[in-house]
């Protein structure tokens, strides 16, 4: 199991604002159980365009639950404009950091909140229909994210090194997938690797 900060463990063991808001002004979901993490956020907006209440339900690992809890705590009382600026990195920092391989998949809380705000704004002043979470699950993205060829952890496309195992990575010029150092052709798309002069 990953080593979590005390703050992550606190928010995981004692999550704030768990639940649903039955007549929510906006509902947003991100992730998919197939990927291992799914979050649903519910918001209530007051007359001054502030988040009067924020609640969540989350399927996922310790990090996913802690992130959701932290987002709900941070966002409560914010104006919509402030809440839109909240980003995933701020949330991770507020939790005293997350293990590298959890940054990509579990740190989606701010995205879910933003979707709830979008949902609120797109509804306008129309009637409030109850929302079925099951209908909101997005299809899994499949294997679209980049994976380190050495340790198979997800890697950011722009990272020259894998943050989990530290291996140096090249990216395929054709499809952008990370490549093993000794590769002669891209394992994903088959493109021949052009070796730069002098290397």
């Amino acid at each position: 199991m990953p080593t979590y900060s005390e703050k992550v463990m606190d928010h995981f063991m004692n999550p704030r604002n768990v639940g649903e808001i039955p007549n929510a002004d906006g509902v947003g979901t991100v992730g998919n159980p197939v990927c291992g993490d799914m979050m649903a956020f519910y918001i209530k907006v007051d007359d001054e365009q502030r988040l009067a209440d924020v609640k969540f339900k989350t399927f996922g690992c310790g990090a996913a639950i802690a992130v959701s809890s932290m987002v709900s705590e941070m966002a409560k009382g914010m104006t919509l404009e402030e809440a839109k600026k909240l980003n995933n990195r701020d949330v991770a920092n507020e939790l005293d950091g997350l293990p590298p391989n959890k940054m990509h998949c579990s740190n989606l809380g701010a995205d879910a909140l933003h979707k709830a705000i979008e949902d609120y704004e797109s509804r306008g002043l129309g009637p409030r229909e109850p929302v079925k979470i099951k209908d909101r699950i997005e299809p899994a993205e499949g294997e679209e994210h980049c994976v380190c060829p050495y340790c198979e952890s997800s890697v950011e496309e722009t990272d020259p090194t894998c943050r989990v195992c530290g291996a140096e990575l090249d990216l395929c010029s054709e499809c952008g997938e990370p490549l093993p150092q000794e590769a002669e052709e891209c394992p994903e798309c088959g493109a021949k690797i052009e070796v730069a002069e002098g290397t």
């Binding site: 996922g60 310790g62 639950i65 998949c105």
Partner: protein
């Protein structure tokens, strides 16, 4: 707080008698077994004694046992060693879809070198059908590797039947079994099973880490992975890890003495835990075979919630267990074993594996059965997928 170690598949504690036997070889008996002077003498004899004990445990001759540093190394030595040695004869291998990563990833490396690999599927209980294995064999097949039991779902494979079917199809094919999960836990006999190669690891049966072995039937030729000196008759160079090998030998001896009672007791505990977990909670499903499974192995999938969060909460209550969920693997991929037995990816996220051992008691089983349901309920109440409330 009560401490319950239900993760024996990760590794077992080391038996005190094993530690005791190892100590002299970490202290005064430090000599190199290859040395001709007096310092090498005792370590040399100790290694050979350990070889005999390991051979006895699996029904082999002592000169058919080759020490390695782990079960993974033994698996690599078997798969790569046979493939490379027989390259002229053929470049095709057959393995089951639920083999350990040390077999599957070794075949992947070989694929990069031009070899071809067929993975034989398993049924919903994780069983390999001997007919499927035979059907996958080609004229250029040199190796078949099917594990004795699976560490993630506990299913015991009909290895004897598979080995027989393979040999009937073509005698020249080498048959390997990864028996890391069974040696020292269940009776394993290389003659009865009809094996050419078998991998085992001491850390699975109360021996030390860093000690494994590969049984290589007399007359089976393979390419060494580690070239160098003449240790292990030239098949695995490098100064012997004498303390670990001695420990492995003693663990083998202890296992042989008490194997039957150990297994019998573990089956009772296993069935109690399995029964309580699946009957006292809703939507909890057993993975692996209900009866043809390792004595101390209980694996389930809990619907609507995720494995790592369960493990963290169990850990807070002193319980050590394991999971095959995406989030618990550093690779962030669902277990290939759960995928192979057809568990839906979303359900596989709720995987939990409890592996019991010698020190486990009925009190431990009941403690886990009491502690888990409130954890599951709490996480389900938090889950957007759960509508049971």
């Amino acid at each position: 707080m009560r401490k319950v170690y239900f993760d024996h598949a990760a590794t077992t504690p080391i038996h005190p008698k094993v530690v005791e036997a190892m100590l002299p070889y970490l202290q005064e008996q430090f000599g190199n077994p290859l040395s001709l002077h007096s310092f090498g003498e005792d370590p040399r004899e100790a290694v050979e004694e350990a070889r005999t004990k390991v051979a006895d445990l699996v029904g082999a001759r002592s000169d058919e046992i080759y020490f390695t540093a782990s079960g993974s190394e033994a698996n690599n030595m078997a798969v790569k060693g046979i493939a490379l040695m027989n390259r002229q004869k053929g470049q095709h291998m057959v393995v089951s879809a639920i083999e350990h990563q040390s077999v599957l990833n070794a075949t992947q490396t070989l694929e990069k070198l031009g070899f071809e690999v067929t993975q034989v599927p398993v049924d919903q209980h994780g069983l390999v059908d001997p007919d499927d294995v035979v059907a996958a064999i080609r004229d250029d097949t040199t190796l078949v590797s099917v594990m004795h039991a699976n560490n993630e779902i506990g299913t015991i494979e009909p290895v004897a039947e598979i080995a027989r079917a393979v040999k009937e199809k073509r005698k020249g094919i080498t048959f390997h079994t990864d028996a890391v999960a069974t040696v020292g836990i269940l009776p394993v006999d290389v003659q009865e099973l009809g094996l050419d190669l078998l991998s085992l690891a001491g850390s699975q049966f109360y021996g030390p880490k860093g000690a494994g072995a590969l049984f290589i039937r007399k007359g089976t030729r393979l390419m060494p992975l580690i070239d160098g000196g003449i240790q292990e008759r030239g098949r695995r160079a490098g100064t012997e890890n004498v303390p670990a090998i001695v420990g492995l030998g003693v663990a083998a001896e202890l296992a042989e003495e008490s194997l039957a009672e150990r297994a019998e007791r573990l089956v009772l505990l296993r069935d109690r835990l399995m029964g309580r977990l699946t009957s006292e909670m809703d939507r909890v499903y057993l993975t692996g075979h209900p009866t043809m499974r390792l004595p101390g192995h209980v694996s389930v999938c809990v619907e609507f919630i995720e494995g790592e969060s369960m493990l963290l909460m169990l850990n807070m209550q002193g319980i050590a267990a394991s999971s095959g969920s995406t989030c618990t693997s550093r690779a962030l991929k669902a277990s290939h074993v759960l995928t192979a037995i057809g568990v839906e990816t979303a359900l596989a996220q709720g995987s939990l594996v409890f592996t019991l051992g010698e020190s486990s008691t009925i009190g431990d089983v009941d403690y886990v059965a009491e502690v888990l349901p409130p954890i599951v309920e709490r996480l389900r109440q938090m889950s957007p997928l759960y509508e049971g409330n």
